[in-house]
Structure formats: structure tokens, C-alpha cells
């Protein structure tokens, strides 16, 4: 429709586009290669049972990481998600064991997420504590609260089946958590990519000054992102306790590091440098496939931890060398 650019600028832009195109899909290509490699090299990898296992294993992680993705998109980091998941995963079982009905228990777990998310949001946007610090401190507080609430013991016995089915049940052979996770991914994708709300969250994270001068109330979207982050952590925590069949005071702790790794890997894809829901989903799949494959090969969990660390470094290095990485 309009004149194109000519000369060296055009060539440079073309090269840049090619490079970005390659970068955009390189992680997906690596994921595909891993998948093929494990399928050929590891006996029990490419079976329906195992693939459903992977899906189940990454479900809670994906849900936490989606919450983190909202935060990253608004350029706020939520380091309290792990302990938040733990808190929700304690509150719901505690109430159930005490005889409260299921809806109350679930709402209380989510309510805790809402309360923590709002507190984080107020600390960050009104008091002015950087999110990295506010949520780190919040995590420490929640860690203590979790032990106070549980007395340091697991909460179990008397959890109704209707609760346990959330984490352990299957419909048509597919884990219920996987349905919930896929629903959450679809919903979050829609909100971020297809609604004005999502566009504004990205605008605030992309250039806060420009967003505010465009008449967007930046504070509101940063608050929303932090609240959503906590809510998703609460959902993951509830599902985790249902899967474990008990509330554990230190459950969910791994979600912080794994969730961050997931988002970082996701940031290498689609729109390099920006956290996207699709990127996060494939990032979780990436981690799930690696963990599962290494498990089947018989490698210990501490080897997996090392592999994960290396992957995070590689992912972040790739992104930060090719784009301006937007962390905080």
C-alpha cells in the first residue's frame, strides 16, 4: 500500500527480521528435537500414559507461571508466588478438615490469593516499594504464616473426594488438572492477546511513560497484574494440595524458581523479550519434557536441577543478547 524502503536499510532490516524469526522459533525447534530424541532414545517416553503424565506434571507449574506472566507483562516481578501457593494449599484443606463445605474452602483459598495480591499491589504502586523487594518480603512473611497455620505438620485426613478429584481425578482418561490448566491457558491467552485489558497491561510494561501519557492509568494495570499473579498461585496451590491429598506447609516452594524459569524460556519465543502466555505454556512444556525425559533415563533430581539452571542461563542469555530484555 505504500512505498517500501530501499537500499542498505532494507537489507539490514531484512537480516534483522530473519534473525528474529529464527530466534522466535529456536526454542520450539529445540523442544521438538528434545521430544523426538526422547521418543527414539527412551523406551517409555512416547506412550499415552507418559504423555498424560507430563501434562499432569506441568499443570500446576503452568498455572503459577501464567500468573507470573501477567506480572512480567506489566514489568512487575512477583517472588511470593511459591509461598502463596503453599498458603492457599493449606487454608483450603484446613477448612475442609474442620468440616466447612467445599465452596467455602475454595473461596477462602482464592480469597487469600486476592488479599496477598492486593497487599503486594498496594505496597508496589502506592507505597512505592519495588515489586522485587515487596514480594520477596511477602514471600518470607507467607513462609512463616504457613508454618504457624499448620504447626509445621501436614494437614490430611477427612479431605472429601470432591476435593481430591481436582488433583487426582481423570475425565476420559485425561487428568482433571490438565483440563483446568488448559482452560487457564486459553483464558489467559484470550485476555492478554484479545482484550483491551491485556493490551493495556502490555502497554504499561512496554513503556509506562508512553502508556500514561496516552491516558492509560498505569497504576491500575500494575495492580491488576500483581493480583492476578497471586490468584493464579492460589489456584495452583489448591490443586497441588488436592493432588498430594494433604496440605503441606512447604509445598509450592519450588514453583517460584521453576515458574521464573518457565517464563524466561517463554520469553525467547514468539515476541522475544516479552513474556507471553503462549511462550509460557511452551516454556512449561519444555521443562516438563526435560524433567520427564531425564527421570525416565534415570537421572537424579539434582542432575535435573543442574540442567534446569543451565537452561535458564542459556534462555536468558539468548534473549538479552538479541533484544533488550525487559525484566524490571
Amino acid at each position: 500500500m505504500s512505498a517500501t524502503l530501499t537500499g542498505p536499510r532494507d537489507e539490514a532490516a531484512g537480516r534483522r527480521r530473519l534473525k528474529q524469526g529464527l530466534l522466535r522459533y529456536s526454542t520450539l525447534i529445540v523442544l521438538a528435537l528434545l521430544f523426538i530424541g526422547f521418543s527414539i532414545g527412551v523406551d517409555r517416553f512416547l506412550t499415552t500414559t507418559n504423555l498424560l503424565n507430563i501434562l499432569q506434571q506441568i499443570s500446576m507449574l503452568t498455572i503459577v507461571a501464567i500468573g507470573l506472566t501477567f506480572g512480567f507483562a506489566a514489568r512487575e516481578m512477583d517472588l511470593s508466588v511459591g509461598f502463596m501457593a503453599g498458603l492457599a494449599g493449606l487454608i483450603a484443606p484446613l477448612l475442609l478438615v474442620a468440616g466447612w463445605p467445599m465452596p467455602v474452602a475454595l473461596l477462602a483459598g482464592l480469597g487469600a490469593g486476592l488479599a496477598v495480591g492486593l497487599t503486594n499491589a498496594l505496597l508496589v504502586t502506592l507505597v512505592g516499594v519495588p515489586s522485587l523487594i515487596a514480594t520477596l518480603a511477602m514471600g518470607s512473611i507467607l513462609f512463616g504464616v504457613n508454618f504457624l497455620l499448620s504447626g509445621g505438620r501436614a494437614i490430611y485426613g477427612g479431605l472429601p473426594d470432591s476435593y481430591l478429584v481436582l488433583g487426582q481425578g481423570r475425565i476420559l482418561g485425561i487428568p482433571v488438572v490438565a483440563f483446568i490448566m488448559l482452560g487457564a491457558v486459553a483464558l489467559a491467552w484470550f485476555v492478554m492477546e484479545r482484550t483491551i485489558f491485556g493490551r493495556y497491561v502490555y502497554a504499561v510494561g512496554g513503556n509506562l511513560k508512553a502508556a500514561e501519557l496516552s491516558g492509560i492509568r498505569g497504576r491500575r494495570y500494575r495492580q491488576a497484574a500483581l493480583v492476578i499473579s497471586s490468584l493464579f498461585a492460589a489456584i495452583a496451590g489448591i490443586l497441588l494440595s488436592a493432588r498430594l491429598g494433604s496440605g503441606q506447609p512447604n509445598a509450592g516452594q519450588d514453583y517460584l524458581l521453576d515458574g521464573l524459569a518457565t517464563v524466561f524460556i517463554g520469553m525467547t519465543m514468539f515476541r522475544p523479550g516479552t513474556a507471553t502466555i503462549a511462550g509460557t505454556f511452551f516454556g512449561a512444556l519444555f521443562i516438563g519434557v526435560i524433567n520427564n525425559g531425564l527421570n525416565l533415563v534415570g537421572l537424579d533430581t539434582y542432575i535435573q536441577s543442574i540442567v534446569k539452571g543451565v537452561i535458564i542461563i542459556v534462555a536468558v542469555a539468548v534473549v538479552s543478547r538479541t533484544t533488550k530484555l525487559k525484566l524490571i
Binding site: M1, S2, R194, I196, F197, A210, A211, S214
Partner: protein
């Protein structure tokens, strides 16, 4: 020592910043360098100071080919550059700033504090024996002139023969300027030539031995300062013919009885204010002033004034309590800021996403806030065509566009889904870093907007632009509106007089 630049060409993507400029600088003169914004002064001294490589041409030092690998290399060859922004480290003392990076050490590691003070004092005394500055005080507590002198002394640490001073007095209160002038005058006698960039023509005339005028990246003339006057400088700096014809271009008649779109009284923010200011439909009001005089801050405060100290604002006759971007946008005020990549655009977003930033609802299905990519693309294409944006598609990343096209996107944000919606549109430096063609198109757009009944405010450092567009001009100095000029009583002299605080 003499540095000769011959036929220097400097290309930036999309624009030619310098076009075959030839000029020589000597160590026994103050060489004034003047020109409007965008004339190429800063680019030229960046090349001289080694911080930019030029595209074509030749630079020689005493007849020998000179190739500079960076600012450090230039310094080693005796060329120092004191930039406009300032490079002092607040919190450190004057002495520490003078010897920054060259502190005397004991045992090779510990800073020798006493030695540092002594050396700094010696340096100051060697260059400016009759200047006394408290070098032990934190540098930010010193008067501005003294801060500049500290910077200059630091630049003179090495064996400097050419010192580039870029707008050294821009941030200085009038009473401190004399202090710096004395310093500048003395340097050539001590074997240091000065290349002086300044917007203050009286300063250029008072200090320079020779003056070079640049315009649109080209050399206009180099001539001795003796016998030159301000009128001559201004006429060389501005494209006389064009400016004159612009002034004569007819303006739409304004209905002076029409109620103002926006009106402020006793308006005061921390940066700027005006006793009374109003804009009527169809008017294009130009705001002018020297750097830091408050015209940009004032323009912005009509849209977003978190730092309001006092005053009242009425929009379409209604008193407005909350003057914030979100509230004013809703009322019908558009704001196109300067520094578009910082204040207006998301660099790694597509053209479409940037255009949709203010009114995403125009690309949405019904009122549910659900975006439709097809609708967004359609509306983005419409705006791109309306503004003749040159981009490969609405999906092209905005950072890849030329300055003119970026600026069109920055303006287009307020037309996307909002054609005719805004009653007041405020522009700050609407053609900053924009090529001539796009500049003309943007000017026409502003005229069209005004003709359609929009009230337009343009704050610009480009006086030709203001003369070309405005129906009325308000000048600012020291943070306040101080004068008003009505078309066709525009002239370079009247503008400059108004900006200098002399009521025209």
C-alpha cells in the same frame, strides 16, 4: 594547531545530518557555531570530538590525516568536549570531579585525599588564577557557573588544544553567565581554542573571533565576528525566503468571540505558569522560548499536571478539577509529546499496536473490550494512509521506521478510532528529527485539524515552524508566559525579542 574538516558528510538512517561541510578550527580563537535545531551543530562537534565517525569527507590536524577512534582518542590528540548535558557526578566534591578517573593514589590503590585536593586546586589556579571555587563542597551545591568551570577544568586536565563547549550557558542564570564568559575569552590566550555552540546570539557575538553558521546540515558561511550583528546571524540561520513566505501565507480567520476550548488563569506548576492563557477553536497557538524557559512544560500541563501548584483550568467552559492524562483524554484533549520513543511509542510493538494505544476500542467487537485483529488492521491501515506512513505493513515494528514515520505514528494514535474527536490537540516538538517531506505533511495535518475546528497548541524550538503555522504566539522565559504576538506581526526579531523577555 589547526583542524580542517573538508566536505564532511554524515548520514543517519533516513536523513543526511551533514552535507559536505567544510570548516577549520584553530587553537588561538573562539569559534562560534550557530544554527537552528537540526542544523547539524551537535553532529559536527561529535565528529570533531571523536564520538561519531563520519560517512564521507576528510579531517586533518596540521595537515595530517586525522582519524578518531572515539572520545578518548580525540582527547589524546588534544580535543576535549564538554557536552550540553553535563557530566559531573553529584555527591562528589569539585576536586573529586576534576580528577575523576585520574585520582592520585597511595600504594597504587588508596586515593590520596590531600594530594587530590592539592592537584585540583593547582589545576584550577593554573588555568583560571583569579577564579575561586570551593572545591571541597559537593559539586551540586556550587553555583551553576562554577559547576561548568569544574567541568571545563576537568576537560583541560590533559594537553588540550581545542575545547568544544556545547551550550555552556544554557542552564545558567543570567548573572552567572558573565563569570563563564570571562573564562571562555581567556582560553585562546592560553593556547586552547574554543568551539562554542550557543543559542544566545549576543553571547556568540561577544565571545567569538570567527562564526560559522549551519543550516539544514549545510555550511552557510564562516566569517569574522567583527562587524557582524544579531540581525545578520538570524538571517543566515533562518531560511529567510521561506520564513518570509510562511509568514505571509494566509491564516484561517479566527472567531475571536467564540468561547475558548481551554482557558487557564493563574496557572502554575512547579515548572511553568501563565496568568491567563486561552485557545479558541481553529486557532494554532505557538509556544516559544529558549531551552528550559517552560514552554514545553506549560504545553504539557494543559493535559497532565501532576505537579500543579495553583490555578484554574476550564475546558469547554467547564471547570476541571483533575488535570491528568486519563481525565483530560476523556474530555477530548490529545497530547503528542516530544521524545517520541520515550514518551509516546512502544518500540518493539507493531505500527498497529502503537496506533491502537489510545483508542483500542476502535478495533474491538462491540463494547466488550474484545479486540478484533481484522478491525484493528483495517483502522490502522486507514490511519497509515491518511498520514502517508511509509511502512511495509501494519505489523512492522515501530522501532524500524524512520523518524518522520515514527512521528506520524505518535500523532496517528490520536486519530485511530478518534477522527474529529479531539477538541484540543497539544504538540511538543511535532517535527523533532523529522525529514523535510514528513515535516511538510505534519504541518499540513495541523492546519487541517485547526480548519476543522480543533484548538491546536504547538510548543516548538523551531521558530520557522512556529512562524509557518501559528495564528498567535506566546513566548515563555523563566517558566512564565511573558509575551504575545499575533500573525502577521511575526519576524525573527520579534520572536527573539519576545523570547528574551523584551515585550514586543
Amino acid at each position: 594547531m589547526a583542524i580542517v574538516l573538508s566536505n564532511i558528510v554524515m548520514d543517519y538512517p533516513g536523513t543526511r545530518a551533514l552535507d559536505r561541510v567544510s570548516v577549520d578550527f584553530r587553537d588561538d580563537e573562539v569559534h562560534g557555531l550557530i544554527g537552528e535545531n537540526g542544523a547539524g551543530k551537535t553532529t559536527l562537534v561529535s565528529i570533531l570530538g571523536g564520538s561519531r565517525a563520519f560517512t564521507d569527507g576528510r579531517m586533518t590536524l596540521d595537515g595530517e590525516e586525522l582519524r578518531l577512534a572515539g572520545a578518548g582518542d580525540a582527547l589524546a590528540r588534544g580535543i576535549a568536549h564538554v557536552s550540553q548535558e553535563g557530566s559531573l557526578v553529584p555527591g562528589l566534591t569539585g576536586a573529586e570531579n576534576i580528577l575523576l578517573g585520574a585520582e592520585p593514589k597511595r600504594l597504587g590503590a588508596v586515593v590520596d585525599r590531600r594530594g587530590l585536593k592539592r592537584q585540583a586546586r593547582e589545576l584550577l589556579a593554573r588555568w583560571f588564577p583569579d577564579v575561586s571555587i570551593d572545591l571541597d563542597a559537593p559539586v551540586e551545591t556550587l553555583p551553576y557557573a562554577d559547576q561548568k568551570i569544574v567541568e571545563i577544568v576537568r576537560a583541560l586536565r590533559g594537553r588540550v588544544r581545542i575545547l568544544i563547549l556545547d551550550e555552556p550557558t544554557a542552564t545558567l542564570p543570567a548573572r552567572e553567565k558573565e563569570r563563564l564568559w570571562a573564562i571562555v575569552r581567556r582560553l585562546p590566550k592560553q593556547g586552547v581554542g574554543v568551539v562554542l555552540i550557543s543559542h544566545f546570539l549576543s553571547e556568540i557575538l561577544a565571545l567569538s573571533d570567527r562564526i560559522t553558521v549551519l543550516r539544514d546540515g549545510r555550511l552557510v558561511e564562516t566569517f569574522p565576528a567583527d562587524g557582524a550583528d544579531e540581525a545578520r546571524l538570524v538571517s543566515l540561520m533562518l531560511q529567510r525566503g521561506q520564513a518570509a513566505s510562511a509568514r505571509e501565507a494566509p491564516r484561517e480567520a479566527i472567531d475571536a468571540a467564540a468561547p475558548p476550548v481551554v482557558e487557564v488563569s493563574d496557572w502554575q506548576t512547579t515548572e511553568a505558569g501563565a496568568e491567563h492563557f486561552a485557545v479558541r477553536p481553529g486557532e494554532i497557538v505557538g509556544l516559544i522560548g529558549l531551552t528550559g524557559s517552560g514552554h514545553f512544560a506549560f504545553a504539557r500541563s494543559l493535559y497532565d499536571a501532576p505537579d500543579r501548584v495553583g490555578g484554574r483550568l476550564r475546558f469547554l467552559g467547564e471547570p476541571v478539577a483533575e488535570v491528568s492524562a486519563a481525565a483530560m483524554r476523556r474530555r477530548g484533549v490529545a497530547f503528542v509529546p516530544d521524545h517520541r520513543m520515550i514518551h509516546s511509542l512502544v518500540g518493539d510493538w507493531s505500527v498497529r499496536e502503537n496506533l491502537a494505544m489510545v483508542h483500542p476500542d476502535a478495533g474491538a467487537l462491540s463494547g466488550l473490550g474484545v479486540l478484533s485483529p481484522a478491525r484493528e488492521t483495517r483502522e490502522a491501515r486507514r490511519v497509515m494512509e491518511r498520514l502517508a506512513v511509509k511502512a511495509s505493513s501494519p505489523e512492522q515494528v515501530v522501532a524500524e521506521l524512520s523518524g518522520g514515520n515514527k512521528q506520524k505514528i505518535s500523532i496517528g494514535k490520536w486519530l485511530y478510532g478518534a477522527e474529529g474527536r479531539y477538541r484540543l490537540m497539544i504538540f511538543v516538538e511535532p517535527t523533532e528529527g523529522v525529514d523535510i517531506g514528513a515535516k511538510r505533511e505534519i504541518h499540513q495535518l495541523l492546519r487541517d485539524l485547526a480548519r476543522d475546528g480543533c484548538a491546536v497548541v504547538v510548543a516548538s524550538s523551531d521558530l520557522i515552524e512556529i512562524a509557518d503555522l501559528a495564528t498567535r504566539v506566546v513566548s515563555f522565559a523563566g517558566g512564565h508566559a511573558i509575551g504575545e504576538l499575533h500573525w502577521p506581526n511575526f519576524s525573527e526579531q520579534s520572536f527573539i525579542a519576545a523570547m528574551a523577555g523584551v515585550r514586543a
